[in-house]
């Protein structure tokens, strides 16, 4: 019983760590939950490299679910991650193939967890798709715009700092530059949307 409790404790710890982007939490997650996923994928005609990719995406699914805010697990984190990995792996297996293989590993799954995992994966894919545009827009922005916007909007640096860092003569110039950069980003972003 106490083991059960401590498992839940660890799960909460990891979830909190992931919300904060804590490296140690992610490592712990790997240590605890990667081996069964690796085993499952190896047993289903996958390689360890593929298992690594799948698990990485699984963690991203978890991240998206956590950041959506309404994170509530009906099962242990281990079960959830396993179900998500399985779902992702099935997806990869059946990509460009007939779906007959799906039955081979989908048989004895807890349907509640499976539904949850399915929803989470779907959500993750939507977010991924949306954010991909922004990622691409940011990537296409180039320097110094990228850093200016990053410093201002992400790191919440003051315009004075940015002005100093990039060697603008006054903050007005920096502000103008920031505005231009923002316009450029908008252009990229909406172009890729449309």
């Amino acid at each position: 019983m106490s083991k059960e409790k401590s498992d839940i404790g660890i799960d909460e710890e990891i979830i909190l760590g992931i919300r904060e982007g804590n490296n140690l939490a992610v490592q712990k997650l790997y240590k605890l939950y990667y081996p069964p996923v690796l085993k499952m994928i190896i047993n289903n005609s996958g390689s360890s490299e593929e298992a690594q990719d799948i698990f990485q995406e699984t963690v991203m699914v978890l991240y998206d679910k956590i950041n959506k805010g309404d994170f509530e697990l009906s099962s242990k984190l281990k079960t959830f991650l396993y179900a998500v990995s399985k779902r992702l792996w099935l997806k990869q297996l059946t990509r460009g193939e007939s779906k007959y293989r799906k039955d081979s590993i989908d048989d004895y799954e807890d349907s509640l967890v499976a539904d949850e995992a399915g929803d989470a994966v779907q959500e993750h894919e939507t977010i991924e798709k949306n954010l991909l545009q922004m990622e691409q827009a940011l990537a296409g922005l180039g320097e110094p715009c990228k850093t200016i916007l990053y410093d201002f909007y992400i790191l919440n640096k003051s315009m004075a700092d940015i002005c100093e860092k990039f060697g603008y003569t006054n903050t007005d110039n920096a502000k103008t530059q920031k505005y231009k950069c923002l316009q450029r980003l908008k252009k990229f972003f909406f172009k890729s949307v449309s």
């Binding site: 992931i18 982007g21 804590n22 490296n23 992610v26 490592q27 997650l29 790997y30 240590k31 990667y34 690594q52 698990f55 990485q56 963690v59 991203m60 991240y63 950041n67 949306n130 954010l131 922004m134 990622e135 940011l138 916007l149 990053y150 201002f152 909007y153 992400i154 919440n156 502000k175 103008t176 505005y179 923002l182 980003l185 908008k186 972003f189």
Partner: protein
């Protein structure tokens, strides 16, 4: 309200979003947005864009964290890989040991059961024996010769169980056998395969060449037709197909083989080494080639060595005949040079030969 440039509004909005405005200013911004729907829409758009940027950036940051954590984990995992094998080994060590033990036991027991080791031992003991025989071959030849002599000297005191062999060299009763057969003899009798027995005298002996020339001295002896075989004076070739007929027992025994060496023991040039199964009693028997020429006279064999029988060359016989002083001869020894065995089959040759080959009984 003063009109605002786009940039100025965005700057203001940024300050509002970052909550860096004074409470009054804050209120002013909100009321401005409420009053100016186009600006309000622009603000909403800006706000969502910024949020999008922030989410994306967070996500990218997390991805980077994840990447590094994953790499760190897999890096750690790699050195662990051998331990997987080690643990596998630990788990199956006992099974492997048992399997190996069974394999070893079954291999050796199979070898033992199939007699591999006894064969091995036999082979190695044969080998050493062979070596010893090579070292002592002369002694053994002598011992063998002594044995043959003893057989005959023993039989001279008791009933005759053994004899030797001799064969005619001329139609008028000259017979050749080994010297060791007749040495020390009181009297000699020759018996042909039909059972007729004749008394014979020793005409001449040559101990060195181990040859003895006898002459049948018996009134019942009828002169034969010419002997059917000739004497081949030249050396025969190695590997030549040869045969002999002798009397290791009371019946004639045929033996067949080949000429295995052009010299006898220790380079004796007056003898051949032949490979024919011979036994005591074969001594003095003729050695013939396939055309029916006498090429030698069996003299002895090496005990324990296969194919090491020896035959005195015909050349030695001729030399011996030539060295006989004329006064002791009872008529000239005229060797025939007409071979009537030539072109006959082996069995026919033997049929013709048998009349000219005798058991030499020594008393």
């Amino acid at each position: 309200m003063r009109s605002l440039s786009q940039q100025e509004f965005i700057d203001w909005a940024d300050l509002y979003l970052r909550k860096e405005l004074t409470p009054e200013d804050n209120e002013r911004f909100e009321s401005f947005c409420a009053e100016n729907p186009p600006y309000r829409a622009r603000f909403e758009e800006h706000k969502s864009l910024i949020e999008n940027i922030q989410v994306t950036a967070d996500r990218l940051a997390f991805k980077a964290t994840l990447q590094s954590a994953a790499e760190a984990f897999h890096q750690e995992e790699k050195p662990k890989a051998p331990t997987k094998v080690v643990s596998l080994w630990d788990r199956y060590k006992f099974n492997a040991a048992v399997a190996a033990a069974i394999a070893i036991i079954s291999v050796f027991s199979t070898l033992w059961l199939t007699g591999y080791y006894s064969n091995l031992r036999k082979t190695s003991s044969d080998y050493s024996a062979l070596r010893r025989d090579m070292n002592t071959v002369k002694r053994n030849v002598n011992a063998h010769n002594d044995a043959i002599k003893n057989i005959n000297s023993n039989t001279s005191n008791e009933a005759i169980h053994y004899g030797a062999t001799g064969f005619m060299i001329t139609k008028d009763g000259y017979v050749v056998t080994n010297y060791h057969v007749i040495s020390g003899a009181d009297s000699i009798h020759l018996q042909n395969h039909k059972g007729q027995s004749y008394k014979a005298d020793i005409i001449f002996t040559n101990a060195e060449k181990d040859l003895a020339i006898l002459h049948i001295n018996d009134s019942t002896f009828k002169s034969h037709k010419n002997v059917p075989y000739t004497f081949k004076k030249q050396d025969s070739e190695l590997g030549e197909d040869i045969y002999t007929i002798g009397f290791p027992r009371d019946e004639a025994v045929y033996g067949q083989g080949y000429l295995s060496s052009s010299t006898g023991y220790a380079g004796d040039t007056l003898a051949y080494q032949i490979s024919i199964p011979v036994n005591p009693g074969n001594s003095g028997g003729p050695v013939l080639d396939k055309e029916g020429n006498i090429i030698g006279i069996i003299s002895g064999k090496q005990k324990g060595i296969d194919g090491a029988a020896f035959a005195i060359k015909t050349k030695a016989l001729i030399e011996t005949l030539n060295s006989i002083p004329a006064d002791i001869l009872r008529g000239n020894v005229v060797l025939t040079n007409k071979n009537s065995l030539n072109h006959l089959s082996r069995t026919d040759q033997i049929k013709k030969l048998q009349d000219y080959i005798y058991i030499v009984k020594v008393y």
